[in-house]
């Protein structure tokens, strides 16, 4: 059963107090469920640290997806293993922290198995993942899972709110025609393009700052090249995240209509209850199911490589927003 971070922390702290903390935990839960916060609280207990960011402790060895394809690659795992096989800086515990463990490249995962099963003395491995179903079975079976659940719903982003406005406007057409649908597609694509530009500006600025600070003042040319790749990957990954968030709004929109039809009181988007109720009245359950299926298909297409984003979007929108 999924826990709140507080409940999970209590369990781990008790385990630590009784000296039976496992060597590897897989902390799972949706985005915003506090996986990193739980890792930080556990680290604070392990290091006996009261102030500051416990994850900035020199004995926390962090690995996160870095390559262009946003994977954790085998070199990163080898470096991590090297660090873990050295004594800790202060002679205490060490933590190996893997963010987005579902992005472990299969070779990297395989190279990691031995360490994961039997880490060096005094080492705790914390694997974090929002999509544990994508982790290799061999990794899963070597970790204790700590499932977390969302305590509070995240506030909607401005892009998500803008998309809701567009959806509301679109819902006013009782019999939407192709031009109306394409108008909505354009709104969706404009939001994506804006998000992409904003993200790129932000990561480029971050890279520029680092480059300016280090380029002349040190001899870390390789490091800067790696950072450039890292920021490119970060841009792409953050864009994919934003796209996925926007797609979630579309899914929730039709899911709410379906819920209203069935008289379920819980809605994902309570602020749009009136709009989704109107849609519920206008469609049959079979129609609504077809629409959610079309969006599900779109999500699947987005996850594939080599799919044209614009084309996939148009096809899905025609299926989801025509009558």
């Amino acid at each position: 059963m999924a826990l709140t971070t507080d409940a999970a922390f209590q369990l781990l702290a008790t385990a630590h107090a009784q000296n039976r903390l496992a060597h590897a935990y897989l902390i799972t839960g949706p985005v915003g469920s506090g996986k990193l916060a739980l890792a930080a609280r556990l680290a604070a207990v392990l290091f006996g640290q009261a102030a500051g960011d416990p994850l900035a402790h020199p004995d926390v060895h962090r690995v996160e997806p870095e390559s262009k394809s946003r994977r954790i690659v085998i070199e990163q795992i080898r470096d991590l293993e090297h660090e873990l096989h050295m004594r800790s800086l202060h002679g205490g515990k060490k933590i190996g922290l893997l963010l987005d463990a579902d992005r472990l490249q299969p070779q990297a995962a395989n190279a990691f198995l031995k360490t994961l099963e039997e880490p060096p003395p005094g080492t705790h491995l914390l694997l974090l993942s929002a999509q544990p179903e994508q982790i290799l079975e061999t990794i899963l079976s070597r970790c204790l899972e700590v499932p977390l659940r969302l305590v509070e719903k995240r506030a909607l982003s401005s892009a998500q709110l803008a998309l809701l406005d567009a959806l509301r406007a679109h819902a006013r057409h009782e019999r939407p025609q192709i031009p109306h649908i394409f108008g909505l597609v354009r709104d969706f694509q404009n939001l994506l393009a804006e998000a992409k530009d904003a993200i790129r500006d932000e990561t480029e600025a971050a890279f520029k700052t680092e480059e300016k600070h280090y380029k002349q003042t040190s001899e870390a040319g390789h490091w800067l090249d790696d950072r450039e790749d890292y920021y490119k990957a970060l841009t792409e990954a953050r864009y994919l995240g934003t796209r996925s968030d926007l797609l979630a709004i579309l899914e929730q929109w039709w899911a709410d209509a379906l819920r209203q039809q069935q008289g379920s009181p819980e809605l994902d988007l309570p602020e749009c209850a009136a709009d989704t109720a109107a849609l519920a009245a206008r469609h049959t359950p079979a129609q609504l199911l077809r629409k959610t299926a079309a969006l599900e298909q779109l999500r699947e297409n987005f996850n594939r490589t080599g799919v044209q984003e614009a084309l996939a979007t148009e096809c899905a929108f025609i299926a989801a927003f025509s009558v």
Binding site: L84, Q216, T217, S218
Partner: protein, 364 residues
Amino acid sequence: MKFSVSKEKLLAGLQTVQNVVSTRTTLPILSNVLLQATDGQLRLTTTDLDVGVSGVIDAQVEKPGATTLPARRLANIVRELPAAEVQIEIDSKNVASIRCGQSFFKILGLPEEEFPPLPKFEGAKTFTIHQQALRDALKKTSYAISTDETRYVLNGILFSFKENKLTMVATDGRRLALVDLEVEFPRSSEGEPIVPTKCVTELGRLLGDEGDVRVSVGDSQISFEIGGTLLVSKLIEGNYPNYRQVIPGEAKERITLERETFLNAVHRVSLLSSEKSNSVKLVFTKNNIEIAANTPDIGEAHESLPVAYKGREFSIAFNPEFLQAPLRALPNDEIFLDLIDEMSPGVIKIQSPYLYVLMPMRIS
């Protein structure tokens, strides 16, 4: 910060610490050298987070202070400077102006606060060893360190401080080198740290012939103080395997060999050992060893070596590289080869407390 220093001293100081700076750093600041100017002294420090080196040189300090500068860039400049006296001035933005004779250089650096401090030792156990003895012991063991990255505890030398003895051990699972040194210390200071390869290499470079080295062993670090130079390293985590177990008992045969003659013969014969089997065979007969190797389809080599041998006739095969490594490292004219039978490990010994255990290879 402003100081002047002789070119030779500065260059020597930089060369002492520069080796630790790797070309692929994980943090940009690690490509820089930390310069700290205090009363009449300039301290130079580098680190890669695993190993750190810090050295002191005399300098005329006009204005004390600290900064970091790109290590290689600075060393390259200093190496090419013409005159004997170098004057370096650093402004508040960490820009260094280097003046020397008619030359002028300006290079940029990073603030000292970014530089990770070398660890402090609390409650460390300290030992004093003669520099030459330690250097000699490193030379006799370091070639046997494992390079297999999956066996981390073997990627270094075991420093076993026990019963007023420092036993240094290196092994890769197929051979093992061991040296004993007499060191005085109280019983409470006993311990068995494993010192990583990179630190061993640096230590070998820093040790000289004269004077003592002060070794401090903490829970997770070890440091070596040689004159004004300090080498600090993290230790390898884990327990070293029980090496006593692989040292064979009483030898049946002891053969006394002239080290250089034997080494040259093995080396010549090994030219024709095949890549696949990679072994040389030693055939013992009365007062003779025949060293032989052959590679199918290429050819064969053998060489006879007269020795004093009266034992039974038998043959044993070894990896030629592993057989030659200790022969190259040892200074002695005479070595002893202790054998039991074809299948038991051979042991190379000398007059002083040293031994080298070598697993034999199967003879087809």
